[in-house]
Symmetry: C2
Subunit: 358 residues, 2 copies
């Protein structure tokens, strides 16, 4: 029973998760673009394997440490959608390539050169996507000529196999207005696809152009020239993504305990910033209609405002479920998911990549 | 050498930490009020032992799981400054009392009754502080009559030893203006000390009244009727507390790598929200004068804005140190501290209580 769990516990609704994986896999089943789900959202190899079994072409991750966890779990097709920089990490990347098939993102000649040198010394070849800045203003070279030049450079390196491009429209992926999100995503992707054509026209083959997220998978998946979508949040869903992609079910919640009832309309719960990713807003209360958490600034406490009448039967020791604004930063705070169906805990899944920062 | 560390790494400057512990211990050496440092800030038993060796009367913590970690490390005098609620946790608390001397906070009769019942069955007695809400609006009963009534109730319970009061002025502890902070702290503590007198005048002895933090230790430590101060941030210091308590040295930083240089005045670093507590603001850049991180919303990336000229020699692969706004939520994201002196790593200290949410 859920009521037998200690709190806070990070819950996964098995049926909702299953439905989300099925829905997303179904969307990509008959499309050119393929799904390579992002591991950073759940960091749990059990879920990654479910995604692979449902038809994903591989897994995307953000950190080399995550890729190592995936390889250890037997998942070989791994896109590290991030720059892997410096001799310590490049050595680890080469080691990883002996037991998996990693692809890395890169946006600088120096970095590509180092990877190539280390790979050549080890008799290895590393596949790389050139990261293109499609407007987010984070990593990536500019679309067009700069992308072509770096792709051409990568193609000349003996330890690198130039595999394509990556562009993440992170600046528009969570726009609330669907029309605006669609228009701006198309605008962002135009530079990415144009870069692809420029590179192909120069005689360099492009195998993979990867991008997108849960907020834009429908748009991205139908743009000609996009081969892979790296959505992650769809599996577990937080309230932020549920608001913009309601076709997916809320599978993640946090079971908490009321530890204090200082006033009739206030309940204090045993989770704060250390146990709930809240950078997109305070958590919502799942199990008490009308209850709200207006602000959420304590490390280990949350303050729930109860609607009139709701507090009459709510006592110290009672359980509540809350939903985080951001699932990715929440999974990272826990070591396991408690998996439930019909009110019973049916399994525990380790979150093996919790805290893999390096 | 620091430059040989993989990144991100959480650094502790050994000399700065030592100076901070010495300064705080010295402040309380000849006062009635004693120091019981808060473990939640570093979650590392090596540092807790240094604090005990410097004269602390015990350690404060926020979670039962933290208390268990402390007991395992041989630290027996533990204040869990939080309500321990529900049969699963109360059972663990009783178990803990067989190998340590825990004190818990409590603010409800039901909770005290459960602890007493479980303790009595196990032949144990648990010491409890009644938590008083001194204005923070979180846990705690109202000062005065409500505090007296709950103290009286606790005193009647066979498995509880009523030990005193706790009140945390969290609503004023980080006010930037020192005069305002001082006045409002005194106002908050008046209710706490008045409650103490009321209880003592009713014939119930009060051994410990505990409160305070790094922002208010000077004020609290000199209020008659306050016996213990539970400051925590002073040991490692983040930039938020350094701004208001500059007598302590900045001992905590995060070593990061520049992974991209997309524009002359922009450097992308390999840490984001998953590796740096930022709920009090973006991190500051320690090692490049004038560099700024205006916003900090990515999970695994930070965007550093460089002042004119600073970027000329900054390359992909270079290291930077940043300082988090909040140290407590940062320590919780790592598994160890890399301890350094004069540019060399001299030790690694496990953060044993990282992720102890329960």
């Amino acid at each position: 029973m859920l009521s037998n769990l200690d709190t806070p516990s990070l819950l996964v609704d098995a049926d909702a998760l299953g439905a989300n994986i099925k829905l997303m896999s179904g969307h990509f089943a008959n499309r050119h673009a393929k799904l390579r789900p992002h591991f950073k959202s759940h960091k749990c190899t059990t879920i990654a394997k479910m995604q692979m079994n449902a038809g994903a072409v591989g897994i995307t991750c953000a950190k080399l440490g995550e890729a190592e966890v995936l390889a250890t779990a037997g998942i070989k097709e791994i896109l590290i959608a991030n720059e892997i920089v410096g001799p310590l990490k490049v050595r680890r990347l080469i080691e990883l390539s002996k037991r998996a098939n990693p692809i890395v993102a890169a946006d600088s000649a120096d970095n590509l050169k180092m990877i190539s040198d280390f790979a050549t010394n080890a008799g290895a070849t590393i596949r790389a996507l050139i990261e293109v800045d499609v407007g987010q203003g984070r990593c990536g070279v500019a679309p067009g000529k700069a992308a072509l030049e770096l792709a051409r450079f990568a193609s000349t390196l003996p330890g690198i196999q130039f595999a394509g491009l990556q562009g993440y429209e992170g600046h528009v992926v969570d726009l609330r207005d669907e029309k605006e999100r669609t228009e701006k995503t198309h605008a962002a992707l135009k530079g990415l696809v144009d870069s692809r054509r420029l590179i192909e026209n120069s005689g360099i083959p492009v195998q993979i152009v990867s991008g997108g997220g849960t907020g834009t998978y429908i748009i991205n998946g139908d743009v000609e020239g996009i081969d892979e979508v790296q959505a992650g949040s769809y599996a577990l869903m937080d309230w932020w993504y549920t608001d913009i992609r309601p076709e997916f079910r809320q599978a993640m919640s946090i079971l908490v305990t009321v530890i204090s009832r200082p006033r009739p309309n206030i309940a204090i719960i045993d989770v704060g910033r250390k146990g709930c990713g809240a950078e997109w807003g305070p958590p919502r209360v799942k199990t008490i209609p009308g209850a709200k958490i207006p602000s959420f600034n304590s490390e280990e406490h949350g303050t729930v405002h109860l609607p009139d009448g709701a507090g009459e039967n709510l006592r110290v020791g009672d359980h509540i479920e809350i939903i985080p604004s951001h699932g990715c930063t929440t999974s990272n705070l826990y070591r396991e998911f408690a998996v439930h169906r019909n009110g019973s805990v049916i399994d525990r899944w380790p979150i093996e990549a919790s805290g893999t920062l390096q």
